[in-house]
Symmetry: C2
Subunit: 283 residues, 2 copies
């Protein structure tokens, strides 16, 4: 197709903006100047600067001048880590586009990744209704946790209550990624001999013909819910089937759902024409 999916470059992901915050911070009021901006950008940058100042003024900082800052993976929605941010940390994050926090123990700013190189690249920053809590929505360059885990949240209270072990590692994942993780586990288990009837996932993982025929069949059934004006509940159920079977194929091909979503994000944040031009040729 030569048209754009959406006919514009809108979409929820604003292009990165640079505010060029100077490093001359005063204690509470940071000063940002268009240090590297061209003369023609001056007015625009000044206006942006004033807006950020106003926004930071409207925040409800606690008695230590801090607010909670939560870093979230823009593609998977996984909560990567949580820290605290002061005025300077938010301003720096907005200008440098790397998640930056205020370390309460070291009493200084720190940018996640300055040691590990696993920066969290900011796509947008959100503030809650009370203006005392912040989401840094971004794309991590690598594992966020200092332990090497993808996120800092890998201890499940429910699991801890169930098992005798003190430590178990299960990431806090939303449904799609829990499903992906379970399919991957089944793939690893394939090598282990099994008693009894194999699970459906196992059968699909072992039989490409079966898997592909199921994907085509489920896609067809999804379409028929529209063509034959079936119930909404049937559409949802068939879409669940399409998603599950397609995700088994991803597991076979060792492709992660996060990669798929990254493609969608990149595709929809540029015009369809431009995106098509940049795609690799089909075989």
């Amino acid at each position: 197709m030569s048209t754009s999916y959406f006919g514009c470059q809108s979409l929820r992901f604003s292009p990165a903006k640079r505010l060029f915050v100077s490093t001359n911070f005063s204690s509470r009021k940071f000063r940002c100047g268009p240090a590297f901006a061209s003369t023609s950008d001056f007015g625009k940058d000044l206006s942006l600067q004033m807006k950020v100042e106003m926004l930071l003024d409207s925040m409800k900082w606690d008695d230590k001048g801090l607010a909670v800052a939560i870093a979230q993976n823009v593609d998977t929605g996984a909560i990567l880590m949580q820290g605290f941010a002061n005025r300077e940390a938010v301003a720096t994050t907005a200008s440098q586009r790397k998640a930056t926090f205020y370390s309460r123990s070291r009493s200084q700013l720190w940018t996640k990744g300055e040691t590990s190189n696993n920066f969290i690249n900011i796509h947008d920053i959100f503030i809650d209704c009370d203006r005392d809590s912040i989401i840094y929505l971004g794309k991590p360059d690598g594992p966020t946790c200092h332990t090497g885990a993808e996120t800092c949240y890998y201890t499940s209270l429910d699991d801890l209550m169930e098992s005798q072990q003190e430590v178990n590692h299960k990431l806090a994942l939303s449904t799609l990624y829990s499903l992906e993780s379970t399919i991957s586990e089944r793939k690893v288990e394939i090598a282990v001999p099994q008693n009894g009837k194999p699970s459906w996932t196992r059968r699909l993982l072992l039989d490409n013909n079966l898997l592909c025929s199921k994907i085509r069949e489920e896609a067809d059934e999804l379409c028929r819910t529209l063509e034959e004006n079936e119930d909404k509940s049937r559409t949802a159920s068939e879409m669940a089937d399409v998603l599950y079977h397609a995700m088994v194929l991803l597991a076979v091909k060792e492709v992660e759902m996060e990669d798929v979503l990254q493609i969608l994000r990149q595709r929809f944040s540029q015009s369809g024409i431009e995106e098509k031009r940049n795609r690799p040729p089909k075989s």
Copy 2:
């Protein structure tokens, strides 16, 4: 199929556990007793109780006895709200399976939903590597924010910098739900006369035959990346196409992705046989 997808009831979502915490809290050490447990459950509940006590002992509470608690939608991954929790709040959340916080202004526990009835039903609780931050992973009964918004995070700093308006409402959404939201916006715009060539999404939304033929075609292309041993990057790209086109169909049928994921979660937390039995008959 008569087999289970996974051949067991495992999966990441532990069934709800009840600890039956009594309401006789002491100041710091809460007491939980198996108030409603049968005699045979007594030993098990006592053991669970001890485990929760140990876990709560190992938490790093701040100087006010609090930790950050983040409520996250288990199906979409959306961060719903953020509050603070003390020992009692976490214990109550674990036992009652409703997200419960400690109100710093009212100096008392509060369960989200006790006024609005929009409870957040807990699926699991996660603790971070530092043991001072908690995720309440759950399913909200309705909008979480007191403003009626789905989540409390609807103010984008980037948007605020771009527009002149002080207030704009754009939820902090991860890629899949941003895409869904944009497709929905395009659907609303269909009624508005448009100049120039229509976007691809608009064409799909207006032409069921085109949409269904594309879904079948993209599913086929996804399968061929496996059958013809194509590059992983092609698989990811074709999966992105399948997902996008199927999501346009969901928009036409007014089905939300969250409903699809809820079905997947429910399907994979029970045996396949049981789930199949509970499905409505196909047309």
